[in-house]
Amino acid sequence: MHMADALLSPAVGTTMWAATGGLIAYSAKKVRQELDERKIPLMGVLGAFIFASQMINFSIPATGSSGHLGGGMILAILLGPYAGFLVMASVLIVQALFFADGGLLALGCNIFNLAFFPCFVAYPLIYRKIVGNKPSQGKILAGSLIAAIIGLQLGAFGVVLETVFSGISELPFGAFVLLMQPIHLAIGIVEGLVTAAVVTFVWKARPEILEAAGRSLPIGEVEIKKVLLGLAAAALIAGAALSWFASSNPDGLEWAMFKTSGKEELQTDESLHASLAVIQEKTSFLPDYGFKKAKPVTEAKHADEETAPWPAVDPGTSVSGLIGGGLTLLMAALTGLGLKRRQGTA
């Protein structure tokens, strides 16, 4: 459930980058304050462990399908929220860079969905509350299961919100939620059971590891509140800073607003808008698009008379666009081939 660049608008992508950046800075500060240098190699190797364990698929009983470990919960349990978050972030960064899982613009979203929710919500508010300082097999099972389910449900919901606010996909909110949440309920149950089993395995073999992890991390309510407050502030600032950008570009947020409120823009400063309208005309090859249903083909001419918003079907323009686009692609490919040949002979 990696969020992908292709479905993301810059406004949403940058907002999530800002939120994730804040979380990384905060976690890094916390890890530094803990001053546990033993943790430096431990974090690195555990990241590699999660990565390696994701290579092995296991069969999911009674379904005929297979899955692999997500890992956010195990990291939080073994390392605590801050170090766990950094490790999960590093795994996602490597996946984005080498396997293009998601992509760079979506990296903020992916770290938020797959690392923030398990490490900063599910672990401290659910797992720690259930398991406490004296783990037992039953507590570990209940804690891991519920925490993994909640973490994945929140993550899946994050994907839905980010996609809908970006407005690149046509999937309506309701249908997308109905698609994502049940699938991730199933994934969450499996993830929870596997997490519980692995943690229990470690706890039985080496109980001191889990106890140390629990002891070194006194996680009070205050810190989580701080994190959430900081996040809300970061999101607000980023949202405000980006809102002008969003409205100068008729995609993403504006489109989502149009869909949900029926108005293309919320009330904004008139003069700012007038000047931005000029930019808007320049920036959009296909200017404003609140019209899809409006213009059947026969009315194309009529539409031309009234400032013809795209995609009032103007066959001339669209065919020109396709031909021009195709030629450009061909030129790019030929350039590449030409350069390659030249380098081959050189």
Partner: protein, 275 residues
């Protein structure tokens, strides 16, 4: 020897090594400061993402960027083509709903009408190819360690950079170890195509225990060598004319491509000629 218990991620790991080999090449692009390539890539991706959802032809000039970098960097085209085509189906899965939902006809070519949904779906695929190839090219021209050093210069917190470097160094070790365990397990269960949970849990659990022990050994080894909690990276970075020209030039081109639609003008010219 085939190892049936490994999934695609397992095979993908070989790509990491391969891409780092590519990054050890020597070209003008390889030698550029990693920061210049990082900034250019991020601007490229943000610009591509900023197109509205029906943009198609206007996006095509952006193909010149990955093509130019692959060519001048001496990277293998076929490899990137394969990687981009093989990667993450999520965008395609979500995008495929567009043609079902948005059925208003948008483009007409003679008697054939193409709906807005197909246009926006094609636009998603185009975005996908562009953003994915840009990220892959970045890492193949720069290498992971240099990229991390660049990140640190940009003010990414030390603990995360340390983590990335450490993690990267040990991926190969642990992947080897996991692969050996999975192979051993698959050889003992000839007919099984996949590991059952009953085997998977102790397998992963022991891998985890071994990992924790390994961390302890690494820490002791580091202490013996005088580790004091700080990891020092020697890498001199300089931003000269080359970097400024590279970054500035590409960003100027991106802005130009973004604000004027050359393919449309070109197409209009050609269709006008035939009228």
């Amino acid at each position: 020897m085939p190892n049936f218990f490994m999934n695609n991620t397992g095979r993908d790991v070989f790509d990491i090594g391969y891409m780092d080999t590519l990054a050890s090449g020597d070209s003008f692009l390889h030698r550029l400061d990693p920061r210049a390539k990082l900034i250019t890539t991020l601007v490229f991706i943000a610009t591509v993402a900023s197109f509205n959802k029906y943009a198609l032809s206007a996006m095509t000039p952006f193909f010149f960027y990955p093509v130019a970098l692959i060519s001048f960097g001496g990277l293998p085209y076929r490899y990137f083509l394969k990687k981009v085509l093989a990667v993450s189906p999520f965008a395609v899965l979500v995008g495929i709903f567009n043609p079902l939902i948005d059925t208003a006809i948008m483009i007409r070519i003679g008697p054939i009408g193409i709906s807005g949904g197909w246009v926006s779906f094609a636009s998603i695929l185009l975005r996908f190819i562009l953003t994915v190839s840009a990220a892959l090219v970045l890492i193949s021209l720069t290498g992971f360690n240099a990229t991390c050093a660049g990140l640190m210069k940009f003010g990414i917190p030390r603990p995360l950079v340390n983590q990335l470097l450490f993690f990267y160094r040990y991926i190969f070790v642990l992947v080897d170890e996991a692969e050996r365990m999975a192979r051993a397990s698959s050889l003992r269960a000839i007919r099984a195509k996949i590991i059952g949970l009953r085997t998977f849990i102790p397998l992963i659990g022991s891998l985890l225990l071994r990992t924790l022990d390994r961390a302890e050994r690494i820490y002791s080894a580091m202490r013996c060598r005088g580790f004091d909690g700080h990891i020092r990276i020697i890498r001199s970075m300089k931003a000269g004319y080359g970097e400024i020209v590279f970054t500035g030039g590409w960003i100027a081109l991106f802005v130009l491509f973004r604000f004027s639609n050359f393919p449309l003008s070109l197409g209009t010219l050609i269709t006008g000629y035939f009228k």
